[in-house]
Amino acid sequence: MLSEAKSAPSGMKILISGEGGQGVQIISEVIAKTAHKIGKNTSYMPQFGVEQRGGASVAFLQIADKKIIYPKFSKANIVLVMSNRSIDAVKQYLNQETLFIFDSTNIDNEHLNQIRNEVTKVLNINAREWALKNLSTKVTNMIFLGALLQYLPDIKVEDIKNVLSDKLINSKNAELIDMDFRAIDYGYNIAREENNNLNGQETKEIENISQDDNKTWQRYPKFCKSCELCIVRCPVKALSFSNELNYLGTQLPQIDINKCTACGLCQLICPDGAIKVTKKN
């Protein structure tokens, strides 16, 4: 599977998709810049929905020895999806030859069912879970970047790191560069171990997360966007980020039910309706 994907005769056509803010465009830009630097013909075209915010963010990336005539394409050699909703955006670009890369810790089976009959080549990476455990969910996209490099033999991991550090040179957070590099290495190595199991998560709309005799606190992983408002506004500091992930692959809040007074503020202010607090009599 690897060798086939690597030897695409007319160059590589890669489609990357995720929610806005997941870092789709950053990794596409870094790959494109690096490919250009090593003398390849390259094209990179970001595409947003009708609006800039709020839709799936898609990047069309091509790397070839021949001239590239047009920045878009009808079928991709590699499709990488970072969120459930982005499956809708990439469906039409799949065929039996396409390598489909996804994150099994973040994508629901319900969404995978839409494309189950269309893909035969699959790479399943547990990017978010690993990032959360070892670094931070902020660098999940870099794991995918590393994984893609496994299929772009002309581009060396070192070249990518150089371009990335130029880009991040003004970043206030030096730690971030180090985390990015470690995430790239992890992604590169994990992509070597082929895991072609097209299984994701079971969909959970509500989690009955915590209760005692007086109250129940529930959260909705399908709605929460990890904005942290509930955590900073809880008057008794009963909420904190947990190690479980929501539909965007970012951290869900969790509750210390003993501290909670069931005031309901978190439910009222959550912009996404992702919390429900019920008082029992």
Binding site: Q52, R53, G54, K222, F223, C227, V232, G273, A274
Partner: protein, 248 residues
């Protein structure tokens, strides 16, 4: 009383999660608007007109008849609809760019004509959808994509105060207020008053909502709250005009 549902009944549940960014104050405000629609029981006679800008991300948010209008044109479309169907409750939702820049003429004229619609305008001190450029409401010295050194008085004048601008030209039938998206109960009451003023057939209603934009302000949750509270020092949260006899 905390509402029984974590999601307003008038929201379209099948369209969730909605399209707004994490921590966006507009989605807080729209959730509260949803509860106001629920409490007033007007879901089946509400017409919701949204503008261009981030405000359009709400086009599939409510399970009510919805019109997507053009840049700054939510107001005139809403006015037209109200003339055609006076028994409808017509809400126009827009941002500070739509209402105070490209659509300012409509806002002013609707206010002068005392059109019986309810306008909700989000003030987040920047043009958010296009990447955080300076808006009429950007604070002095605030850094945006187009004011990297901060907004300067000499170049761009003072930030625009909408309710203060409209109040002197509004009739005594108008309800004009400014509220803040973080204040659930305060904003809910304000929305209900602004909608009741229309239902009671009195006159023009306008609510400006101070709102957070963490993505373009580049702030985390606590910093966003701090910034919107700083905005409230410059843009006072209060009712500017309350018609006599208005139900709350």
């Amino acid at each position: 009383m905390i509402p029984e549902n974590n999601i307003p009944k008038s929201w379209k549940k099948e369209e969730l999660p909605h399209k707004f960014c994490p921590g966006c104050g507009q989605s807080e405000a729209l959730k509260i608007l949803g509860y106001a629609i629920d409490e007033l029981g007007i879901q089946n006679k509400t017409i919701y007109a949204s503008d261009i800008g981030c405000s359009l991300l709400s086009w599939n948010m409510f399970d009510v008849d919805t019109i997507q209008t053009h840049h700054g044109r939510a107001t005139p479309v809403a006015v037209g609809f109200k003339h055609a169907k006076p028994e409808a409750v017509v809400l126009a939702f827009m941002g500070d760019g739509g209402g105070y820049a490209i659509g300012a003429q409509h806002l002013i004229n609707a206010c002068m004509r005392d059109d019986k619609i309810t306008i909700i305008l989000i003030n987040n001190a920047n043009y958010a959808m296009t990447g955080g450029q300076m808006a009429p409401t950007t604070l002095l010295e605030q850094i945006t994509a187009t004011t990297p050194q901060g907004r300067k008085l000499a170049d761009f004048g003072l930030p625009l105060h909408g309710p203060e601008m409209l109040s002197p030209i509004a009739s005594d039938n108008a309800y004009i207020a400014r509220s803040i998206s973080n204040d659930f109960w305060g904003l809910l009451t304000t929305f209900k008053k602004a909608i009741n003023n229309q239902i009671e057939g009195r006159g023009f209603s306008f609510v400006e909502v101070l709102s957070m934009c963490p993505v373009n302000w580049k702030t985390d949750a606590q910093e966003s709250i701090n910034f919107v509270e700083k905005m409230a020092e410059i843009y006072p949260v209060k009712e500017f005009k309350i018609p006599e006899g208005l139900k709350c």
